[in-house]
């Protein structure tokens, strides 16, 4: 009982900001004519979730944090000029972008080119509607929230395609082709991975998923680590994050579908890219990492802070991979999706279905969940090990040190032992 006076479901109870908004709305309902309060509720919810979560995360974690962290990874300082520790850098960036002229190339499809950023932005905002930030803090507690998430997150691909196609630039067209091909491939393992979660929890509502994890005191990541791995890879492919950022591969096709965009139109794409990554992180935090629940800790710590923390933790992994890994080629990415991710997702599905069947049919008690968790973690490690052992690149077979000769001369034949395979 650390702060007994503060956890009383009053408006000042910080654990759930919906208490505050409920107080406001109930007060407003007494003065305002009937019905307006519904509009007001939607507005407050939207603005609050945007102000508390999306915008600060986007600016501080997405722009500043990413640049700062990658800067440290690259042994340089990162932004440190504007404001204390360079914290105002995102704002300075935004001001600069707004002042820049948004060019439209000659021969571009103007209407489509103008529409693309707008279509790109809208779903990013809509995605946060179904993320539960607390027991009552959820904008749209709809039943097929998981499907809603998948449906809405397939829209930005279209916007990116429109952007790439309309700019009348070959690099843009390349980016458009790549993003379309890749999103089709990676949607399949993504959905299959999430299907396993739905199968086990028996619901498609995100709030119920969080409650399920809270009830059994186990996060789904422990039950289905493979699903999280597949989700992470597939979602980073859909979001164009390194190592799968082939649609805007800087060293190959300049900026992909963004090549011809400038000014705030580009800024919208850039900002909303971060928005999507945050939404995907929040979704992963909800589905796999227990959402706003934290093994009972959510009673004391505000749940919305827990999920924000988890989201940022997940986002950090995105930053981390971006700072370290090289990029795959498109054919390797496709082969990876179809030859590795799909079988592993199916394996995960079969495993989970079997366990679910056992659990329900045999009416096993909750402690069996922990056995399942151990089994699944081992299965995940085994699957990854087996893949890298038998299908992978096997770097130990290939010589990684140059041969040394002491005398100049002609061709030195490669000894049979060092030839290796692919």
């Amino acid at each position: 009982m650390a702060l007994p006076t503060l956890v009383t479901e009053h408006w000042y109870d910080l654990r759930d900001l919906s208490n505050l908004s409920r107080e406001i709305l109930e007060g407003a309902d007494k003065i305002l004519p009937h019905g307006i309060v519904y509009v007001l509720a939607a507005l407050i919810g939207f603005v609050a979730s945007f102000l508390i979560f999306v915008l600060p995360s986007q600016l501080i974690v997405g722009v500043y944090g990413e640049r700062k962290l990658i800067g440290r990874m690259q042994s340089r300082y990162g932004p440190n000029r504007v404001g204390p520790f360079g914290l105002l850098q995102p704002i300075a960036d935004a001001i600069k972008l707004m002042q820049k002229e948004a060019l439209t190339p000659k021969g571009a499809d103007r209407a489509v080119m103008y529409l693309a950023p707008i279509i790109f932005v809208a779903p990013a905002v809509l995605l946060f509607a179904v993320i539960p930030f607390g027991p009552k803090m959820i904008l749209a507690d709809i039943n097929p929230a998981l499907l809603y998430f998948l449906a809405v997150s397939s829209l930005p691909v279209l916007a990116a395609f429109m952007a790439g196609w309309s700019a009348n630039n070959k690099y843009s067209l390349f980016g458009a082709m790549r993003i379309v091909a890749m999103s089709i491939s990676y949607e399949v393992p993504l959905v299959l991975a999430l299907l396993g979660v739905v199968l086990f929890t028996g619901t498609t509502s995100l709030q119920e998923m969080v409650l399920w994890q809270k009830h059994f005191d186990i996060w789904i990541v422990f039950l289905q680590p493979l699903a999280l791995a597949i989700y992470f890879i597939a979602v980073s492919a859909e979001l164009n994050r390194t190592p799968t950022d082939i649609a805007e591969a800087e060293s190959e096709i300049v900026a992909g579908y963004l090549t011809e965009y400038s000014g705030m139109k580009w800024g919208l794409f850039y900002g909303m890219d971060i928005g999507y990554a945050l939404a995907a992180s929040a979704f992963a935090a909800t589905v796999f990492l227990g959402g706003w629940s934290m093994f009972g800790l959510d009673k004391w710590v505000p749940p919305w802070m827990i999920i924000i923390g988890k989201t940022h933790l997940f986002y950090f992994v995105f930053i981390w991979t971006r700072g370290t890994l090289p990029r795959l080629r498109i054919d390797q990415l496709m082969a990876f999706a179809w030859k590795f991710m799909l079988p592993v997702a199916l394996l995960n599905l079969v495993l989970v279905a079997t366990e679910r069947m056992l659990w329900v049919e045999q009416e096993l008690d909750d402690s069996y969940l922990y056995i399942f968790a151990v089994v699944n973690i081992w299965a995940a490690l085994g699957a990854i090990w087996a893949w890298s052992r038998f299908l992978g690149y096997r770097p130990e077979r290939n010589p990684v040190r140059a041969r040394l000769v002491n005398e100049a001369g002609g061709y030195v034949p490669v000894p049979e032992a060092a030839k290796g395979g692919k």
């Binding site: 100049a408 001369g409 002609g410 061709y411």
Partner: protein, 175 residues
């Protein structure tokens, strides 16, 4: 052990042995081949095991006012030796030399360079074009008479707002 630089006589002897009648004359460091026998001789020097000049190290043209020389440096890895071959191209207006691209792929770009800057046309080159300058550039910059060529090119910016054309620059003549 440093690379052995073949003298002109040595190269001439080898070339004469492999392709009789290919040598025009020799100097201390280089062997002048007859242009029409050049490709044959270079091919022979490359494939003969005791010469083994498999690597065309350097190819360049030199303008000597009345004629051009094309200089080839060939080297062997296994035998660790280098030699210098030359041909002379006498017609200044229509300077034509045989191309060694069929023998050495590495000559491709170097011949393009020599064509671009000196105007030596290499017959048999698959795609001879101006590699640094644009098609239609007046004159051949590395020729010694470049600045007094017809068309009146002058050093510096010819057209710059407010500047008159400069007087004819003094070119150094080497005879």
């Amino acid at each position: 052990m440093p690379t052995r630089e073949w003298t002109g006589e040595e190269v001439a002897a080898a070339a004469e042995r492999l392709v009789p009648g290919s040598v025009a004359r020799t100097t201390a460091g280089a062997c002048y081949l007859k242009a029409e026998k050049l490709v044959e001789a270079i091919e022979a020097l490359r494939s003969s095991p005791d010469t083994d000049f498999v690597h065309l190290t350097n190819l360049c043209g030199v303008d000597y006012w009345d004629h051009f020389e094309v200089v080839y440096h060939l080297q062997s890895f296994v035998r660790n030796q280098i030699c210098c071959l030359k041909i002379e191209v006498w017609d200044r207006e229509k300077a034509v030399a045989p191309s060694v691209v069929p023998v050495f792929h590495g000559a491709w770009m170097q011949e393009c360079e020599a064509y671009d800057l000196l105007g030596i046309r290499f017959e048999g080159h698959p795609n001879l074009h101006r590699i640094f300058l644009w098609e239609g550039y007046p004159g051949w910059p590395l020729r010694k008479d470049f600045l007094s060529m017809p068309g009146g090119l002058q050093p510096g910016l010819n057209e710059f707002a407010g500047t008159a054309r400069r007087p004819e620059p003094a070119t150094r003549l080497v005879q």
